[in-house]
């Protein structure tokens, strides 16, 4: 039973991640490969505040969000000037640089040794220590993320993002200040990803940089590409599919040693297949194109 809780909690965390990346990829058309970096910055920022300064989870989380948002400007500004491949590489570079910092600045982040002993979230003496309680907390945050992103994407703001995705020049010819919109998209997406980071830290009580590497960014992107983007359904379908898949493999009796490889082979093949036959993924609206 605790296994089921675990799956559901991970679904909540990845929902937050995929829904926020969706704002960048599906709505604005920015193929960002650095989402795990924001995830990691949120996790590390709130963890360090909790562990080193004894800050409460519910204060450390928003602090992590703000810090991630500030860092996102480092990617947002280049995205204004760089087109296509160059932007993708810049985001990739940001991901690698952030990982490098988390991994190598041992004095600050304890590098590969990670940070253990992260306290479970608690408020006014009440601790979310049991799995069902943590699931409740995760579900609350996931719903919050869903609500925020739904409202934002179904609004004129979301519509303007889609216009920018389709034709930036035509959008500016209608008076849309493209730069503003892109920066907002990054700030919002990174902030929400940071929420997932804090949640994850509070869940596993030990974090290390390898959870926030390029592989992770690729995984989150794969969720969006497989499930679909440009709407709310896509990321939800994608998250459930990609989280359930490895568990389904386990039931099929694939040995644990090769299970991770098989899982990745499946989604590698799936990516190729979808790019050929169905670029909107399973349930997306945005038929992934671009330049």
């Amino acid at each position: 039973m605790s296994y089921v809780f675990h799956i559901l909690i991970m679904i909540c965390i990845y929902l937050i991640l995929s829904l926020s990346l969706n704002l960048l990829v599906g709505y604005t058309g920015l193929l960002s490969l650095c989402h795990a970096a924001f995830y990691g910055i949120g996790a590390y920022a709130s963890t360090l505040l909790m562990v080193k300064l004894g800050l409460n989870f519910f204060l450390a989380l928003p602090a992590g969000v703000i810090i991630a948002m500030l860092f996102s400007l480092l990617v947002a500004y280049p995205s204004l000037r760089l087109k296509g491949d160059y932007f993708i590489l810049t985001a990739l570079g940001f991901q690698i640089i952030v990982f490098s910092i988390l991994y190598n600045w041992v004095d600050f982040t304890r590098g590969p040794y990670g940070i253990p002993g992260i306290p479970k979230p608690s408020i006014l003496g009440f601790e979310f220590s049991s799995l069902p309680l943590f699931l409740l907390l995760s579900a609350i945050f996931a719903s919050l993320a869903l609500l925020i992103l739904y409202r934002i994407s179904a609004s004129p703001f979301g519509r303007a993002l889609k216009a920018i995705r389709e034709d930036e020049l035509a959008a500016s010819a209608l008076g849309k200040r493209v730069a503003n919109f892109k920066i907002w998209a990054f700030v919002i997406a990174s902030g929400i990803a940071a929420i997932a980071g804090s949640l994850y830290a509070g869940y596993v009580t030990y974090i290390d940089p390898t959870s926030f590497a390029l592989d992770e960014s690729i995984f989150i992107l794969a969720i969006i590409l497989v499930g679909g983007s440009g709407n709310i359904k896509g990321p939800i379908v994608g998250t459930i599919f990609m989280i359930i898949l490895p568990e389904a493999l386990r039931f099929l009796g694939i040995p644990n040693t090769i299970a991770p490889n098989v899982r990745q082979m499946i989604y590698g093949a799936l990516l190729l297949f979808l790019m050929f036959f169905r670029t909107q993924g399973i349930a997306g609206e945005y038929r992934f194109e671009g330049e």
Binding site: S155, E166, D167, L169, L174, G175
Partner: protein
């Protein structure tokens, strides 16, 4: 025919069009009339002089035609006005306010609307959404407002949708409200683009071949709209290759070739001008 753009020439032409008019000083009436002005604008691409020391003036309430062979620099002039390109020399003034060097979005917000030759509708968005995008000053475009003041955003949306539907009906596309723009025919997309400009409430309208690809009945409606826009005080500039259209709706015509303004004047005069015919028809 007068060539060049001295103040009194404009006044002279306009007085000819409007009948003798008792006005104050010439410069005042000039300013009242002129919505957009290019002064000695030059644009180079590497070695190519795309726009060569061009001066143009477009008046409020008038439809000005911009004609010339391909490569004459007409679209470049549009690009310069809308801020896609920055002039290497000269000034562009919108109601006496210098706009060269401003970003495109700002020029659009000031009131410049553009119809592209290649239409440029937002293909994967629905027809109605295309129109809604043109609506000005949508508070819901700020994500914080969208998040926290949902009611006011929804109210504004409702009003905007009503307005947008009005324009959709006008171009006879109300059935296609939910259709993705990419699934419309070329002619329909053009109408959508025109409706978009109308919905946007722009004061200066730059129309690049507005009737190309539209059937004759719809063309009549489009021209009718254009006339009514001018009557309402908008400034309309039309690039057209169809000389009949130019004859029909322009109050004034500029003829450009090789980046220069060769001549300008009333449509009948320009189209009768042998130099123009030579450049266009190679006669």
């Amino acid at each position: 025919m007068n060539i060049g753009l001295k103040e009194n020439n404009i006044i002279a032409i306009d007085e000819g069009l409007a009948g003798k008019r008792q006005t104050g000083s010439t410069s005042e009436s000039f300013r009242n009339l002129c919505m957009l002005e290019l002064r000695d604008v030059t644009k180079r691409f590497g070695g190519l002089l795309a726009v060569d020391n061009v001066s143009l003036a477009f008046s409020k309430g008038k439809i000005t035609g911009l004609i010339g062979p391909n490569g004459a620099g007409k679209t470049t002039v549009f690009n310069l006005i809308t801020g896609f390109l920055k002039p290497d020399a000269g000034e562009i003034l919108f109601s006496d306010y210098r706009i060269n060097g401003l970003p495109t979005w700002q020029i659009a917000q000031i009131g410049t609307g553009r119809l592209f030759q290649d239409v440029r509708v937002f293909s994967k968005l629905a027809t109605l959404e295309n129109l809604l995008l043109a609506r000005k000053r949508q508070s819901g475009e700020n994500p914080l407002v969208a998040l926290f003041r949902r009611k006011s955003v929804l109210d504004m949306e409702e009003k905007n949708i009503d307005e947008a539907r009005k324009w959709l009906k006008f171009v006879e596309l109300e059935e296609e409200e939910k259709t993705l723009a990419e699934n419309l025919s070329y002619g329909q997309q053009k109408l959508l683009a025109i409706a978009r400009l109308l919905a946007g409430g722009f004061d200066l309208l730059l129309l690049d071949e507005p009737t190309a690809g539209i059937n004759p009945e719809m063309t009549k409606s489009v021209l009718d709209v254009i006339r009514r826009l001018a009557q309402a005080g908008k400034t309309v500039v039309v690039i057209e290759h169809n000389m009949n259209i130019i004859m029909e709706i322009s109050d004034l015509v500029y003829f450009m070739d090789e980046g220069k303004v060769i001549t300008f004047g009333l449509p009948q005069e320009i189209l009768g001008d042998p130099e123009v015919r030579r450049a266009y028809l190679g006669i």
